[in-house]
Subunit: 143 residues, 2 copies
DNA sequence: AAACAAAGTTAGCCACAGCTAAGATTGTTG
DNA sequence: CAACAATCTTAGCTGTGGCTAACTTTGTTT
């Protein structure tokens, strides 16, 4: 028995890794695949940085990567990416209630999202649903 | 005229710097002074790291620091610390509406706060005020 | 097929912000 | 005042995640 070959260690993810996962899933959903050059453009970082990170994420079991060829999310990578995307959407929906500038919303969500725990997210989701039924109240906040 | 001696460059601050400022102000408010050892304990990092950072913050004009002696916030450091503290309070007040665990609130706020822009903060502040007048609605979120 | 451009990779660098270990300073106390 | 403990500093290290410059691979185009 050769012991475990890979040392999985539960896919912990940093804010940076979460950003990558989010963009990779989005690219796969819209274009069918995620190329290094597109990820780089989307995150506004260099291709070299992307190559580097993607290799780390392969090592962490979040995706399968083949040099010069391409990448696919693993099951756990995809699950993580989806939950990150969902969190992003919930926070965006919440902030959109208040008539803030779209760019600002994006920027704030992009920063905050990595730090919002599941219970807090759930509360914000429920709150957003309630507020949608109270446009008068929301209007007072927008002023 | 010896030109400007220090190169101020507008006190940009990272998340880490903001955490330090927040704790330093709190220590000054409660104990009258901020010692390296207390900052370290409060942020759960080593004293060496605190010394290091405090020296950088001195260089950045956020505080005045004298080796082995102590520190005082500069005017701009104090202004920044106060606005950080205010932001922290507003976010905490908001999350407290939903009956979340205090520790969780603290943790989430500690992570998110550095990424919330002034307009977003203002909206959340106004929303919190409105929600305080709508306990029935809030109760539906808490469930 | 040769040449070229686009995409990807590697090597080596940097700043940030933590850490430990070892040494310096300070204040207290016998 | 000598010695001690507490505090603080320095030196040197680490990992993360960027960067540029130079090189390689791939695919297209003539």
């Amino acid at each position: 028995m050769p012991a475990q070959p890979k040392a999985k260690a539960a896919p912990r993810s940093s804010a940076a890794v979460e950003d990558y996962l989010e963009r990779i899933l989005e690219l796969i959903n819209t274009k069918g695949y995620a190329r290094v050059v597109d990820i780089a453009q989307s995150l506004k970082i260099s291709q070299a940085s992307v190559t580097n990170m993607v290799q780390r994420m392969d090592g962490d079991g979040l995706l399968k990567y083949e040099r010069y060829r391409g990448m696919v999310l693993t099951a756990s990578g995809e699950a993580l990416a989806k939950s990150i995307t969902r969190r992003h959407r919930i926070l965006t929906d919440f902030l959109r209630l208040f008539g803030l500038d779209e760019e600002l919303i994006f920027h704030d969500v992009e920063g905050m999202e990595h730090h919002v725990s599941p219970p807090t997210l759930k509360a914000i989701e429920a709150l957003t649903a309630q507020l949608r039924r109270q446009p008068a109240l929301v209007a007072r906040v927008r002023l």
